[in-house]
């Protein structure tokens, strides 16, 4: 567990986090409601983000289809976003991908459905009058 806490940087010195605190801070500050961030909160957020990256990667790999091929693909990640409750907040930024042809087909089917509904309504109106 202690290995998770410290890493080593270029000088071989022990370092608590690898992600640059300045960048983490920029992202945190982009949130409008936030006034100020204490240094400890910054360090913990950076550390939590590292844990998150590890977690997302390992979960996606273990549950993904890429496992047999010893690869981690985008598909594995979008699956995770869709299927895991914990990672559901990522669903919008990791959407499932479909072929353009399939999407166009879906659009067309939807259009046809809507047209049919309109026609049905017209018919029922006529029946009433």
């Amino acid at each position: 567990m202690a290995d998770l806490v410290v890493g080593r940087d270029k000088c071989g010195e022990q370092r608590l986090v690898s992600l640059p605190l300045s960048r983490i801070r920029v992202i945190m500050k982009s949130s409008p409601e936030v006034s100020s961030i204490n240094q400890e909160a910054l360090v913990l957020t950076a550390k939590a983000t590292e844990l998150f990256v590890q977690d997302l990667a390992t979960y996606s790999y273990r549950h993904g289809s890429g496992k047999e091929k010893r690869a981690l693909t985008y598909h594995d990640l979008s699956n995770t976003a869709e299927e895991s409750e914990t990672f559901q907040f990522l669903a919008d930024i990791l959407p499932k991908k479909i072929l353009a042809s399939k999407y166009l087909k879906m659009l067309k089917e939807k259009e046809e459905e809507e047209e049919e509904n309109e026609n049905n309504n017209d018919e029922s109106d006529e029946a009433e009058s």
Partner: protein, 132 residues
Amino acid sequence: MAERPEDLNLPNAVITRIIKEALPDGVNISKEARSAISRAASVFVLYATSCANNFAMKGKRKTLNASDVLSAMEEMEFQRFVTPLKEALEAYRREQKGKKEASEQKKKDKDRKTDSEEPGQSLWQKSQEDQN
């Protein structure tokens, strides 16, 4: 303040290293997967910040602190992070304490040094006297 898109991204090299260290040896990570994880990490920071900020506001504070971040993790269903984060916090506090003590010691040593040089009695002057 307008942020360029790159500013809200985390460095690819570091993200890649963290992923590689987490996965078994020899697993290939597609470029798309790496980019997706990087984006996800940025979103995670935003989500965690927003959540932590709610706890700060509840406590009528304007500054986010460590306990707000820990509470946020529980709220976001990342309880498994709480223990390693607490350990990291302890390590960080020890490190800060060590640095503070080191710089205080340095200052003490510096003060001691300047005290030992008495006015009007430098070694050079003394040796001159001896020669006479």
